[in-house]
């Protein structure tokens, strides 16, 4: 029902546009550092782990670059990034909207005649749908760089081997899958978080619970849809 109201025609497009750009900045720029840091270490750890697994086997070392690239593109970049964003952005959205509900800000907007579900939820969803796939793409790239740093800078592998691995067996369908996951996860984490905040009742304890529920439910739904998308697209 909230989504139905949220998708109604905006009262003034300019106000929605302004709110959407503000949200894009909050979600995108505000999460860039944490996403890059996590992606860097995920790439590095993945490379180190596979290097350990492949040690002493007949599998060529350049496969490490290939494995890091595909595992981050298919799974780690969209899923880990969105799980982290559910914790950072989702709980923030839930608390922001829930706080507005408790301080009667939403009532004040309703009385002015504002479609509050639309004004407070729609810009967040649009911003997330635009920005989160970008963050996921950055995370995928940074992960590959992280793997390079962990392997090449430590001398475990040559520069040429890693680059050859990264360039081997590339399937553009994997990138499509990454973006499909990013878009679906972005929608889940924003809509679940906004819902939890919008319908919060009670005081600060309930607001805390709503914020926790936003993260927990988003995470569960992200993992469930991850499995479904993987089943359908592979």
């Amino acid at each position: 029902m909230m989504m139905g109201t949220a998708l109604a025609r905006p009262e003034r497009t300019y106000m929605y546009y302004r709110e959407t750009t503000r949200q894009m900045n909050d979600i995108g720029v505000g999460s860039l550092v944490i996403v890059i840091l996590i992606a860097l270490f995920i790439g590095a750890v993945t490379a180190v782990q596979f290097s350990y697994q492949l040690d002493g086997t007949l599998v060529p070392m350049y496969y490490i670059g290939y494995i890091v690239r595909d595992s981050t593109i298919i799974e780690l970049a969209p899923t880990i990034t969105c799980l982290v964003l559910a914790g950072k952005v989702g709980s923030n959205m839930s608390s922001e909207i829930g706080g507005m509900r408790q301080k009667e800000h939403i009532d004040a907007m309703e009385i002015m005649g504002v479609n509050t579900a639309g004004y407070l939820v729609l810009p967040k969803i649009i911003a997330a749908l635009v920005v989160i796939p970008m963050l996921v793409a950055i995370a995928a790239f940074v992960s590959v760089v992280g793997g390079y740093m962990a392997m090449v800078f430590t001398g475990s592998m040559s520069n040429n081997d890693y680059i050859m691995g990264v360039r081997s067996f590339f399937k553009d369908g994997n990138v499509t899958m990454m973006f499909v996951k990013a878009i679906v996860f972005a929608f889940i984490l924003t809509s679940v978080s906004c819902y939890q905040g919008y319908y919060v009742k009670g005081g600060s304890i309930e607001l805390g619970k709503a914020s926790t529920n936003a993260v927990v439910f988003s995470d569960i739904l992200i993992l469930l849809s991850d499995y479904l998308i993987a089943s359908i697209l592979t």
Partner: protein, 257 residues
């Protein structure tokens, strides 16, 4: 004018309003008074459509507000301004942005016209040079005045105030009361105030509605309050021992005189 007819409201099994019928007049400060838990806030929220009544009708002029769908309600709400108990100013916006918000959302005025309208509203509530301040940087009384400025920025026909004096000292309360009354008269607005402030009752109560245990217990104006023999009203007005002593002294003096 606003007319409410036989308003009932129940939450689960508890009936909070048990059939309220009354009228609120334009150009007058209409007060809803009553003890805490009497159902005043529920009635005010029903009036503005934030809570749906279990049964009964609300008429804004000739329009039956309770029969409208959400979209139609918004057209009526464009004519409504409301001052909330906690002011409900948006924390992330400056005073100027708070007042300009309804203009940005619903008008196609130019930037300059909006700025002039904001200045005029701030002047109307006797506030100057607070444009760039955030709500947390101004006092409670100033926040109430900014709340009033935001409520009147679209020149509403109806103004609702939920306990406008709560948390304010007596002097500031009087300033807020006088401000609301002068705006009501100047702009011929139908103002409905939910309060239990005795000073407001006596000073600006043009049309007073006393709610007691979900029922309309008394209706009149401030000149009738002291003379009324209605027990519920007298118990409400003279609830404090200080006021009771003051009243008996006044009565003794009038008998002696």
């Amino acid at each position: 004018m606003i007319r409410i007819i036989d308003i009932h409201k129940s939450f689960n099994d508890q009936e909070v309003l048990k059939g309220i019928t009354t009228e609120f007049f334009p150009g007058k400060t209409n007060l809803i008074i009553g003890r805490s838990g009497a159902g005043k806030t529920v009635l005010l929220k029903i009036l503005v459509g934030l809570v749906a009544p279990t049964s009964g009708d609300i008429f804004y002029g000739d329009v039956n507000f309770s029969q409208l769908n959400k979209k139609e309600m918004r057209t009526i709400r464009m004519k409504v301004g409301m001052l909330f108990q906690g002011s409900a100013l948006f924390d992330s916006m400056t005073v100027e942005e708070n007042i300009r918000f309804p203009l940005d959302m619903f008008t196609s005025m130019t930037w300059k016209e909006k700025a002039l309208q904001v200045d005029s509203c701030l002047e109307r509530v006797n506030l100057g040079k607070v444009h760039k301040k955030y709500p947390s940087e101004i006092s409670g009384g100033m926040q109430k005045r900014v709340g009033i400025a935001r409520a009147i920025v679209l020149n509403p026909e109806y103004l609702f105030c939920d306990e406008p004096n709560s948390g304010l000292d007596p002097k500031t309360s009087i300033v807020i009361d006088e401000l609301i009354r002068s705006i009501t008269i100047d702009q011929n607005i139908t103002t409905v105030i939910n309060t239990h402030d005795m000073n407001s009752v006596m000073e600006i109560g043009d049309n007073i509605v006393l709610i007691h245990e979900g029922l309309l217990a008394w209706r009149g104006d401030n000149s009738e309050v002291l003379e009324s023999t209605n027990q519920t009203l007298q118990q409400f007005i003279f609830a404090s021992p200080f006021l009771q002593r003051l009243r008996s002294t006044a009565l003794e003096r009038s008998q002696e005189g």
